[in-house]
């Protein structure tokens, strides 16, 4: 069953239209990757799904129309975003960052805090430090942990690998894959690094200048000659 269902999504900034009306689906328990070059509209797609910018077309989450919903009600429904460039609260402590991530929740969040400190032990070591003093990799972990604090059913990750050492990227993707496999967390991931993306994805959408030009399973796209040439460099 499809958890997120997008039809005819068009969005942009002021008079500039970036997305020209494409369809996209994320099924329950899937990792879906949006692959595309700079300026293809990947981040705009994420912002449109999160309700951060005005959009046209239909966006449904778990059967509910969220095309005109506000960002806070979308988080409440169970979609959390890890924004591009991490977007941590630089002058707040690590712990406060995570507590802010749980803002929409009314129940006790201490257990979740402990849980993500187990998954990311480095965050526990730095829990009283300001987020701005963390390394890039640690900030990315924090951004992911913060998003998970809201207990999302769908996690949007906007280029988590950006500017990180390969080893750290691998570690992060390992965590995401584990969450997906063990708890059925659905993930919509934006990537420029196609090698990495095709490894973790169940399905892939190829985005070019605001339109989906190709879609299929990760294996199908990896086998496609023209895609290999353009995105995998071989």
């Amino acid at each position: 069953m499809s958890l997120l269902s997008i039809t005819g999504l068009a969005a942009g900034y002021g008079p500039l239209e970036v997305l020209h009306g494409f369809d996209l689906e994320v099924n329950q328990g899937e990792i879906v990757v949006i692959l595309g070059a700079n300026g293809a509209g990947k981040t705009t797609t994420m912002r449109a799904v999160s309700g951060m910018i005005p959009r046209r077309g239909r966006v449904e989450f778990d059967g509910q129309d969220i095309s005109t919903a506000s960002p806070d009600s979308i988080v409440r429904l169970g979609i959390a975003q890890v924004p591009q460039g991490r977007g941590t609260f630089a002058d707040l402590t690590v712990e406060d960052n995570m507590m802010a991530g749980a803002y929409v929740r009314r129940d006790d969040v201490q257990a979740d805090l402990e849980r993500w400190f187990e998954v990311f032990p480095r965050l526990r070591e730095r829990r009283t430090q300001r987020a701005g003093s963390l390394s890039g990799g640690e900030q990315q972990m924090l951004a992911i942990a913060r998003a998970l604090m809201s207990r999302p059913r769908l996690l949007l990750c906007d280029e988590p690998s950006l500017g990180l050492a390969p080893l750290i990227t691998q570690e992060l993707f390992g965590v995401l894959q584990k969450l997906n496999a063990e708890e059925g967390l659905s993930i919509l991931l934006v990537e420029q690094n196609a090698n990495l993306a095709l490894k973790v994805a169940h399905r892939v959408y190829l985005l070019e200048t605001g339109n989906v030009v190709s879609t299929g399973s990760a294996a199908e796209l990896a086998a496609d000659d023209s895609i290999r040439k353009a995105y995998l460099g071989s």
Binding site: M52, P71, I74, D91, L92, G101, Y103, G132, G136, R146
Partner: protein
């Protein structure tokens, strides 16, 4: 020695009012990144509300509380109806709007309550000539003590709100990164409106205390205190609540010392100079203020 102690006492009391107003400036600045030039005039209008409630026969304390409620509504209303809309179009526009509000509120007060003769404003605290206590020979009036206690108490409550509550966390998150605050589901509009509301409510309380000290109420009531408050916020750093409080107290004492020890031929007018020179020097040598943070981020 007695004289010095006297100036320090008076300075701390007056300084706590400046601190309260400065804290209002900082709360707004941290939330929306704007300097609200109308903060003093909004406080003045609210003081007229307070006076009006009292004139209708309500007890003074109740009137002041109602004045603060009115202040909250005014501040939140201004943010929702004006600031938010203008800020979408142009940041410089907000500056112009806050200057316009400065003039507007001033004229409005004159229009409704009249400029002359001044209204009589009672004090919240005992203010008869013999209401004082002597400490090491210096006179500390009950009214001055009351002002300081109430101002510090309110500021303490505010710091608890910032540090210990979920709403305070939301305010800090919005100040730190508005975009991410929206992404984690914080209703940023509500937070910003509340920041303006809280600032205006604090202004209403400062206004009631300044009015009580002066004993009378005119539309010029908050003009000078606002300049001192601006100097305090500049000195402490516009994004540092703690800095605003410390700087407010320091400027209060500085003002009293300058006025007290100034040679006769300069006269009392030097007081205001303390504030203006402070603003000038801080902006020249340490624009982010003593406790403010120049934005640094590791990538």
């Amino acid at each position: 020695m007695e004289r010095l102690l006297q100036y320090i006492f008076d300075g701390l009391s007056l300084g706590s009012i400046y601190a309260l107003l400065a804290l209002g400036l900082v709360v707004v600045f941290r939330g929306t990144g704007h300097l609200n030039f109308a903060q003093g005039e909004m406080a003045m209008i609210c003081t007229f509300f307070t006076w009006q409630f009292h004139a209708w026969g309500l007890p003074l304390v109740v009137s002041v509380l109602l004045g603060m409620v009115a202040g909250f509504a005014l501040g939140a209303g201004v943010e929702v109806s004006l600031i938010r809309r203008v800020a979408k179009k142009s940041e410089a526009g907000v500056f112009v709007v806050s200057i316009a509000m400065f003039l507007g509120f001033n004229s409005l007060a004159g229009m409704i309550w009249g400029n002359l003769p001044p209204e009589e404003m009672p004090s919240l605290f005992p203010d008869e000539p013999d209401d004082f206590v002597k400490i090491f020979g210096a006179v500390w009036r009950y009214e001055y003590i009351g002002i300081m206690v109430v101002a510090l108490l309110l500021m303490g409550l505010l710091f608890l709100l910032f540090a210990r509550t979920k709403f305070g966390l939301a305010m800090r998150a919005v100040a730190s990164n508005p975009e991410s605050a929206r992404l984690v589901g914080i209703p940023t509009g509500l937070v910003l409106a509340s920041s303006w509301g809280i600032a205006a409510a604090m202004g209403a309380l400062s206004g009631a205390m300044v009015g009580g000290l002066a004993g009378e109420l005119t539309s010029l009531l908050m003009f000078t205190p606002f300049i001192y408050a601006s100097a305090s916020a500049t000195l402490g750093g516009f994004d540092s609540p703690g800095g605003a409080v410390i700087a407010g107290l320091a400027i209060g004492v500085g003002e009293q010392l300058a006025a007290g020890y100034a040679p006769g031929w300069i006269g009392q007018e030097l007081r205001l100079g303390v504030a203006l020179v402070t603003i000038f020097v801080v902006l020249l040598f340490k624009p982010s203020g003593l406790f403010g943070s120049a934005k640094v981020e590791r990538v």
